[in-house]
């Protein structure tokens, strides 16, 4: 127990940070190279004004036609993404660890709010799972990796909920919680989760092409 804790909060945590940072750098670089080689029009048509206009429409709830057509998906996806980021950064148990290890701290969520947001993430993952299995058009685009990603994202929240409520075996579950968070961070550069960094560019390019070439809305 103690050596596992030491390892996964020590050396393995640093390996995780390095993989996350350098993996993301490498991913940016390789996509950049690929675009230069295969689709150099991307660089010519990229336009800041059209890019920001498109991003703005897609980052505001119901800002695009697609979001208006699928209201359930819109509500769930916004609640999901907000909870996904806010909870781990501002839950009290994590902030106290930042204070202990790096002597920095910030605003913390109340226990009830953090608990609720955790349930939102778990519930959303179940919704996405249902959607991938049940909706024909989504199923058509689904690969096994999409299910793995869902599992990777849900795991830190399921284990976190388990640990906070001290269900049986919570001590071991705390170690699993740490590992699951580290797996998620390491998976970001190498999976679709990389859209957290890539979305301004993909959205921005579509916005540029629609705005500057097709003279049409892309939202």
């Amino acid at each position: 127990m103690h050596d596992y804790y030491s390892f996964f909060t020590g050396p393995f945590a640093w390996i995780t940070f390095l993989v996350f940072i350098f993996g993301s750098g490498w991913r940016f670089y390789s996509i950049w190279q690929l675009a230069k080689k295969k689709d150099s029009a991307v660089f010519e048509y990229m336009n800041m004004k059209f890019a920001l206009r498109s991003i703005a429409h897609w980052i505001i709830p119901f800002g695009s036609r697609s979001m208006q057509i699928n209201p359930a998906m819109t509500v769930v996806t916004f609640m999901f993404h907000i909870s996904l980021f806010i909870t781990p950064l501002f839950v009290f148990g994590h902030v106290v660890l930042w204070k202990e290890n790096f002597n920095i701290s910030w605003f913390t969520l109340s226990n009830t709010v953090a608990d609720l947001m955790t349930l939102i993430v778990i519930g959303s993952c179940l919704f996405f799972l249902w959607r991938r299995i049940k909706l024909a058009d989504v199923r058509y685009l689904t690969t096994p990796m999409d299910f793995i990603i869902l599992f990777i994202v849900a795991a830190p929240f399921v284990t976190g909920f388990w640990v906070y409520h001290q269900f049986p075996g919570f001590a071991v579950m705390t170690i699993i919680h740490i590992i699951s968070g580290e797996i998620m961070l390491m998976a970001i550069p190498f999976t679709k989760l990389f859209h957290m960094f890539l979305f301004p560019f993909t959205r921005g390019y579509i916005g540029s092409e629609f705005g500057g070439v097709r003279m049409a809305k892309d939202w």
Partner: protein
């Protein structure tokens, strides 16, 4: 025969009372030994986790700690540990008080406390290390 029964009753009463007194005194010792680490600066924060009692004497006996300064340490102005001096009776916040200055994030004191316990537990590979092992619901 009557005398024997009489004696048995008396002896049994003494025995039961004795056991009772031992249990009660043990209870009192237990209660006395129960430290709730709950500084007022942390108390304000509604997000803190519940704390079970810290059984000071039992802990030190089990861990074989005889030198008070192992936990009740003193650092000099150069932040060097003063080996033979200890600070028992002095609240942690007297030195580790930076936590009192920051309003919403008054967790500095808790962080110091966590590190004191956990670092020792990790180096000895004994005792609680994850949140819920001390902060029982």
């Amino acid at each position: 025969m009557k005398k024997i029964i009489h004696n048995i009753i008396i002896l049994t009463s003494i025995f039961v009372t004795g056991i009772g007194l031992i249990l009660m005194s043990a209870g009192i010792v237990y209660a006395d030994d129960c430290f709730n680490i709950n500084n007022e600066s942390i108390d304000k924060n509604t997000n803190t986790r519940p704390f079970i009692c810290f059984e000071h004497d039992i802990h030190n006996e089990t861990a074989g700690i005889e030198n008070c300064s192992e936990c009740h340490h003193i650092y000099d102005e150069h932040e060097e540990l003063v080996p033979d001096e200890s600070s028992e009776g002095q609240p942690c916040s007297e030195c580790h008080a930076d936590s009192k200055n920051s309003n919403n994030t008054d967790i500095g004191l808790a962080a110091k406390y966590h590190k004191l316990c956990r670092d020792c537990h990790l180096s000895r590979e004994k005792g609680p290390v994850v949140c819920g092992e001390c902060h029982r619901k």
